[in-house]
Amino acid sequence: MSSRDSILASIRAAGRTPTGHPQVPTFDQYHPVALERFQTSLELIGGRWQAPEPDIMELAPFVRRLFPDGTRFCSVVPEVASDYELSSFRQPAELAQVDVGVVRARFGVAETGSLWISEAEYRINALGYLPQHLVALLDPEDLVGNLHHAYQREDFRQARYCVLMSGPSATADIEGVLIRGAQGVRSLTVIPWARPR
């Protein structure tokens, strides 16, 4: 008998009886679709919320000003020019030379301060992890209240890979001291910026 069949057979032989599958409520009363909540949760987990002043019409100079001169950007959003041609990367590992990645999240989750990003946004998934810093644009209109609403979305079923990202790479594995920039990006900056329509 194959391992597959023998495992399935011993599960059946265990003779557990099926019980009902509960419906999961969305608990809307506790989780308003509020940008303020998103911001609080994001900052709690270590992400930086960076809203441009209302008179700022062009995003690119604003983003560049957040980092020192000479910083090399790999941007996959039309709002910010990229210092790299994406097609010049032959291997994901080559993204390790990038200082700052710039991407747009498809939506955010207010409850947890999470951004939803898939391969469609990243173009190369390693963009979210190998650069030293990550900047993510989020349209304040693209927000759901909590994770129950997030998981009702079809986006998860279409993406090969997707992540709910809620902060920079972090660890507290040595004496409980919180360190940002464990293996991946050292900082995550979220900029509210409407999607081009």
Partner: protein, 461 residues
């Protein structure tokens, strides 16, 4: 196999006061963080009930959901493998790697691969395996098991890490600054990630209806391991299945809140299909799980989502450290899982508990942990696996509790003994738990004395 002596292991840990006090405080902080999150979520108890029901439902027809998962993952372009035990799991991983000429594997944390003892298996066959989670990397370099399922090196102080890194990575032995140490690990691990031929992750949840696996990390190291090399292998315990995508909402909301007191891990990553030009393999591993499913008293432990809340709250775990359990799983969850792997070897672990029930109260999937601990004790006693000291103590306790007169005398005597005996005598050398702790001040009168006096007053009034 020789039985694990948890008491002796604890004694070693208790010998260093600053280790014990840091460990105790750090885990209690995590427990308090969890409590704060619980209080901030009005629907918390309802979520726990839902999580428990969904897991129970899934385990009730696990064969059905495993087949559904396999079907959907295969349709997504993933190659699905099945492994009866750790040995078969390791063989499959080795085959996948060796067929492709891969000699370097980077991985994120997985308790399952610890269970399978995969690292030594692959290393003996010429494949370099590197853990990318900081805590797990510390443990790998120190050649020690993880002592905790979420924070693997929590029993170490930074000076211990400095020593391990100095020995193995050549860092400055005098520098025990956690920032320095973490940066050293980042700098030494990154080139290995960039050059690795394959990446491996564990699995927190496997969704039957989409065929996706979900991995939760704070370091983003699962995303690196899976997204940088061209080949991704995920090892999945068969109990990780959940039926629907929308069930994830319940579990993801509970997991990190229960574990670390944060609303969610930094990265909750969903792997459904190989990326373009890449390759993805899922290995479904039984390794004793289907046998546990058949145990009427213990199958409920398969609901566990490895959050570690039961460990963080357990007074025995906090003061004995995970290494003292001598097993992959430590703490209260280890005390009920480990004996199902090997009853003789782990017969001491169900006694590493005060049966206070706190583990059960914090469990996000409502496993009756302390009741299972008690049940294991009964089984171990029935099979005469108790140590001599415990058997004699139980016999005496049984005699005393059966005879009210003897009980009263003994309890009065105990009160007197606490008052008059020198401290050295009440601290028997056998009682390692007595170290660093003081006996309570005996009450002025026993409950019985109080009751007799007060009832007398009542009747005379």
């Amino acid at each position: 196999m020789k039985a694990v002596d948890h008491v002796a292991g604890s004694k070693k840990f208790l010998a260093s006061e600053d280790h014990v006090s840091f460990h105790d405080r750090r885990l209690w902080d995590l427990r308090q963080g969890r409590d704060a999150q619980m209080r901030a979520i009005p629907e918390w108890q309802e979520l726990r009930t839902l999580a428990s029901q969904i897991k129970e439902h899934t385990l009730g027809q696990l064969d059905h959901y495993l087949e559904m998962f396999e079907r959907n993952a295969t349709a997504n372009g993933v190659k699905v493998h099945w492994a009866r035990d750790g040995e078969e799991h390791n063989r499959i991983v080795h085959e996948i790697l060796s067929q492709r000429g891969v000699t370097s594997l980077v991985k994120s944390k997985s308790m399952l691969t610890e269970e399978c003892e995969m690292r030594p298996y692959l290393e003996a066959r010429g494949i370099a395996v590197v853990e990318t989670d900081l805590g797990e990397r510390i443990q790998q370099l120190d050649d020690e098991m993880p002592s905790h399922v979420v924070v693997p090196a929590v029993h170490k102080l930074s000076r211990d890490v400095a020593k391990v890194f100095a020995d193995k990575l050549g860092t400055d032995p005098a520098n025990a600054d956690p920032y320095y140490l973490a940066e050293q690990q980042r700098e030494t691990t990154r080139p290995i990630i960039l050059g690795a031929g394959a990446g491996m992750t564990g699995c927190n949840f496997a969704v039957a209806e989409t065929g996706a696996v979900v991995v939760c990390t704070n370091e983003g190291n699962a995303d690196l391991s899976a997204n940088v090399p061209p080949l991704h292998i995920a090892s999945i315990g068969i109990e990780k299945l959940i039926p629907r995508q929308e069930d994830l909402g319940v579990f993801v909301r509970l997991l990190s809140r229960s574990a670390l007191g944060s609303p969610i891990t930094q990265y909750t990553s969903h792997f459904r299909a190989p990326r373009e030009g890449g390759e993805m393999h899922f290995i479904l591993v039984d390794n004793g799980r289907s046998a546990r499913l058949a145990m009427d008293d213990f199958w409920y432990s398969l609901k566990c989502i490895r959050c570690s809340a039961c460990m963080n709250t357990c007074p025995v775990y906090r003061r004995s450290g995970g290494i003292s359990y001598g097993a992959v799983y430590s703490g209260p969850i280890g005390a009920i899982i480990d004996p199902s792997f090997d009853l003789k070897k782990y017969s001491g672990l169900p006694f590493a508990s005060t049966l206070n029930g706190s583990c059960t109260n914090v469990c996000p999937v409502r496993i009756n942990i302390h009741e299972q601990i008690y049940r294991w004790r009964q089984i171990i006693a029935e099979q005469h696996q108790l140590s001599y000291a415990k058997t004699m103590a139980m016999k005496m306790a049984g005699h005393i509790l059966q005879h009210p007169m003897v009980y009263r005398t003994a309890s009065d005597m105990a009160g007197i003994a606490l008052k008059v005996l020198p401290r050295g005598l009440s601290y028997l050398p056998l009682n390692v738990w007595g170290r660093q702790r003081e006996n309570p001040v005996p009450p002025a009168e026993s409950f019985r004395q109080w009751y007799l006096k007060n009832r007398k007053q009542d009747t005379s009034a």
